[in-house]
Symmetry: C2
Subunit: 260 residues, 2 copies
DNA sequence: AAGAATGTTCGGGTCTCGTGAACGGGTAGT
DNA sequence: ACTACCCGTTCACGAGACCCGAACATTCTT
């Protein structure tokens, strides 16, 4: 579950990599025609065509009058990732509980390639942080909670790969300041995000560990700064997070004990 | 959105196809080692290794002590499919409304490669029909509602590709009987599923069309047979479905009018 | 109706993919 | 402790697939 073995991989197939590049480009352009892709990727038209055809044949892309979009099979595969992972299911239940307890939006996130990926969130309809989105770690409560639990060298790797871009005036962009903050987080047991990712948004997050002590992910609660303050921010949410994180870790431990 | 252009595709890249085959196998085996895959796919070990490395490098697969699983990037991509499609978002809202109206589980499904794919469902926690799953069309209310709206030749294609497997004693396995049922559905405006997919489960479904008249997907409501009966089954649910389907079609029409 | 732009098909040269065999690491069993 | 086995990883080479450019088909515009 941890982000293991990410460096130095054996042989790589260039054709498959190219197909993935095309897929990625279609995603980022929110649908594209062949000509769009030829311009964007600077690959011969016939080549792009072949990749698109192949991906379409398998449902990874869908074609709608000469525009290609991500295909529904990707949705199926994506749901499978989450649905067949008991630990994620348990985390989902915890998120729902947590959101109800504090009456604010809650979510569960994991690290993927040095960024935070939202696996579950309590979908108060129309909230901005839908599951499936990536976030930087240095500017979120969940991210800082996780970084504080990782060895220094892993933190360095994350920074090296994604930097510490500034999203608001509050964003921590200096690595020394970040390390200092992480030490505080470590002592406190949970992390704050005070309008560091977006203005007028606050959050609190705490790490969730695997039974073997490695990092599984993080639970966090967030919302508009005018609501997330005072007793709620400093007492109610941290307590709820602590309890629910401990509960989730227990559930995972029990599951692994009985099923492995 | 409709299942267009599925037949006869230009050139196909064998390397990419092989990678997709490996991905698919990992999914179906719910995680696999290299040796598992060698045995299953009958491809040289070094070849499997190269494909796995490539897929892992891009996050499509994840490795956990020599076992490969579907990677989190697939989850990200899958969410993107649904999240960036306004029509799906609108359908999601409709599903929530619908579930609340009738106080039973509701869902929205589309056709993908001749099968039904669940895009949204009203997640009463722990229900069995999570989104992302495939179902046969001949044995579900939503599937029959859609088939009834398609030209005969498309229905034939679906049957040709996936057959009419028998899930319960009630499943319609004879094509002639299916065609007769579809005509009834057409006249009635909605379809029933009386324990045809699983014992003691009933459902009602209706088609949702695009503004141009093509099929977009289907709304359906289902639950245990002891609850889904009498007035609820024959009046309340059909009425709610009709209203909500019409409402959804209007929203889509309005969206396309203002945004295209 | 003619032209422009875009999607699709086709053949050949080059580079990569697939393979079997050898290597290395870890585990179980004696 | 040692060995034998199993599994994952690397390597070199020949066969064959991929990438490209150009020609063809199709759709939309002027």
């Amino acid at each position: 579950m941890a982000d293991e073995g990410t460096r130095e991989i054996g042989r790589v197939l260039e054709t498959t990599e190219r197909s993935i590049t095309v897929l990625q480009a279609v995603k980022e352009m929110d649908g594209a025609t062949i000509s769009d892709l030829v311009q964007e990727l600077e690959i011969a038209k016939s080549t792009v065509h072949a990749h698109l055809s192949t991906l379409q044949k398998h449902g990874l892309l869908a074609k709608e009058n000469n525009r290609y979009h991500l295909g529904l099979r990707l949705f199926h595969l994506g749901q499978h990732v989450r649905g067949d992972n008991v630990k994620f299911e348990l985390a989902g239940e915890t998120v729902e509980d947590l959101a109800e307890m504090v009456n604010e939006n809650a979510d569960f996130t994991v690290v993927e390639n040095g960024r935070l990926l939202t696996i579950h969130n309590s979908t108060n309809p129309n909230d901005p942080f839908k599951s499936g989105g990536y976030f930087h770690m240095h500017s979120t409560a969940a991210g800082k909670a996780i970084l504080a639990a990782l060895p220094r060298e892993d933190v360095e790797l994350v920074i090296e790969r994604h930097g510490t871009p500034e999203f608001t005036e509050q964003t921590i962009t200096e690595t020394e300041e970040l390390y200092a903050t992480l030490e505080e987080v470590q002592k406190r047991g949970y992390a704050y995000n005070d309008q560091e990712a977006a203005d007028s948004l606050r959050g609190v997050g705490t790490v969730v560990n695997n039974p073997d002590g490695s990092v599984f992910g993080a639970l966090s609660v967030g919302g508009p700064a005018y609501r997330i303050q005072g007793d709620l921010l400093h007492e109610k949410i941290p307590t709820a997070l602590r309890d629910k994180a401990a509960e989730l870790e227990e559930k995972i431990e029990e599951y692994e004990r009985t099923n492995i």
